[in-house]
């Protein structure tokens, strides 16, 4: 497998949401406590979660993009997109555990029991961790044929993310439905055309 060539501008895309969030945090702490609204911790959790979802969609979009639109260069960036997805999912969980739960583990246990959407999200996160952890060249070499099979885990992970979002949605399902349509279309494409390999 080729060495992945990450052009400079692509790095910016991966880091942009983080830089944006960081700027907001700086603003909230030093300049304007209302910059993230009245519920700043929740706003950050939502921001990182949505970003992770965007990168997940980007990963699923790579093959359809090549086949339908003819865009080939995304294929090289797919690994970086996937790792970025996991990175933001990790930030999503860290801001939840650190800012909303304030690292009170007894609250985490209570939350897990009372909020099943957390269990589902956590499961999806574990899958993404596994995928990110085996994304390096060494893993590809060591796992061989099994690597491709393992990395099909992104499909159930994507479905779990959708369930997580549906259960989180308080009273408005508009955004969730829109994301679900996008993800399901991408998954449908992969399911129909999974015989064709990169």
């Amino acid at each position: 497998m080729d060495k992945v060539l990450l052009t400079r501008w692509f790095w910016w895309i991966l880091l942009l949401p983080f830089v944006f969030a960081g700027a907001r945090v700086v603003q909230v702490i030093w300049y304007d406590p209302s910059a993230l609204g009245p519920d700043p911790a929740q706003a950050l959790v939502d921001l990182f979660g949505t970003t992770a979802l965007w990168f997940l969609c980007a990963v699923l979009f790579v093959t359809p993009a090549r086949a339908v639109i003819g865009v080939r260069w995304l294929t090289r960036q797919r690994r970086a997109l996937g790792v970025a997805c996991f990175g933001y999912a990790l930030l999503h969980w860290l801001s939840y555990a650190g800012l909303l739960l304030e690292w009170q583990w007894q609250n985490l246990g209570q939350d897990l029991l009372n909020r099943p959407y957390i269990i589902v999200g956590f499961l999806a996160g574990l899958m993404l961790l596994l995928l990110a952890g085996t994304s390096n060249n060494t893993s590809v070499r060591l796992l061989g044929r099994r690597w491709r099979i393992l990395h099909r885990l992104v499909y159930p992970a994507a479905l779990l993310v959708l369930v997580h979002m549906f259960w989180v949605a308080r009273s408005d399902y508009t955004e969730v439905i829109l994301y679900s349509v996008v993800v399901l279309l991408l998954l449908l494409y992969r399911w129909r055309y999974s015989a064709k390999s990169t």
Partner: protein, 329 residues
């Protein structure tokens, strides 16, 4: 009937006379102080901001507001959050949508149609409907079903006083309310992706509506209601989840049958008719045992335990004696 506000008041809680007489100055000063702290994006607060756009008769009536023993002494949620973080899907489903998209809504002139089992049915100008009713300031906790809450200084008239002048018949066991339907001014109503059915409908049992705590709000933070808060009149039922406190009321109907409310229709398993704040009765998808008192900060999530009936149990628990609150949620 004993009515209290959820904690015992003692001699030391009595407001010194000098403070009481200058309360409006203190309220304005605290709003200005909070506004200064939150610079540079502070919004026009009542003290510093633009003139109240409501008609003069309403401003005059609101300016007569007297304090109430039902008011909480807890820290107020700042004006910019009370008016900038709202669930009012008629203007969009984002929390900042009602403020952003509510500017074109015209709450005056306003009529209210009263119908059903009452003597005083008809369509009334708002001014006539409210004429002579004494406005009070009521500082209430408002608890959203989404598990966040605020402390809000409402202005309004006791619902009991308003309903009494409409002379409901003894056969009237429920009163229902309906929000205005104006898709040309309320973009969420005409949207293809409308989350709920419009116009928005809510209702109360007669004894709930006639309870001293139930308020028909005409203002907030010393001025008339901004559009995003339900101008020109809205219900405030502090011991129930926020979705019961219907906004921009256009119709009042007295009925002998329990009305089906909008959120019951949307999802009866999750949203009931009574919707009493109850830490022991969880929402199907999340716990109601705690809430986040807004504003929280980045490093302090401000979780507080949710109180039965939102802390108004002393005053209202009697209404539900003998009722199974897990069945009648």
């Amino acid at each position: 009937m004993k009515v209290s506000v959820g904690h015992k008041l003692g001699e030391r809680d009595v407001t010194p006379e000098a403070v009481y007489l200058n309360r409006r100055q203190y309220l304005k000063a605290s709003a200005v102080g909070a506004a200064a702290l939150l610079a540079p994006t502070v919004k026009a607060s009542p003290a510093t901001g633009s003139a109240d756009p409501a008609p003069l008769w309403l401003q005059a009536q609101n300016n007569q507001a007297a304090p109430s023993p039902f008011s909480s002494t807890e820290k107020l949620t700042p004006y910019e959050y009370v008016t900038g973080y709202n669930n009012f899907y008629e203007f969009g489903t984002g929390k900042d949508d009602p403020e952003k998209h509510g500017q074109d809504f015209k709450p005056h002139p306003w009529q209210v149609t009263v119908s059903g089992l009452a003597e005083g049915t008809g369509t009334f100008d708002l001014e006539d409907l409210l004429k002579g009713l004494a406005v009070e300031e009521r500082i209430y906790r408002l608890r959203c079903v989404e598990a966040w809450s605020m402390v809000i200084p409402w202005l309004g008239v006791p619902m009991a006083a308003l309903l009494q002048r409409l002379k409901p018949l003894s056969s009237a066991r429920f009163v229902s309310f309906e929000t205005v339907y104006r898709p040309e001014e309320m973009p969420g109503q005409g949207s293809f992706f409308a989350a709920i059915d419009y116009p928005y409908i809510e209702g109360l049992r007669m004894d709930e509506a006639m309870h001293p705590l139930t308020l028909m709000a005409t203002g907030v933070y010393g001025r008339s209601l901004p559009n995003q808060n339900g101008a020109p009149i809205r219900l405030v039922v502090p011991w129930k989840y926020g979705f019961k406190s219907i906004k921009s009321i256009r119709k009042i109907t007295f009925t002998d049958r329990q009305p089906q409310t909008t959120w019951q229709k949307a999802n009866a398993r999750e949203y009931g008719f009574y919707a009493n704040v109850n830490p022991s009765v969880d929402h199907p998808r999340w716990s109601q045992a705690e809430e986040r008192r807004l504003p929280s900060t980045l490093f302090a999530s401000n979780r507080v335990p949710t109180l039965p009936f939102n802390g108004y149990a002393d005053a209202v628990a009697g209404l539900y004696q003998g009722m199974d609150l897990t069945k009648y949620y």
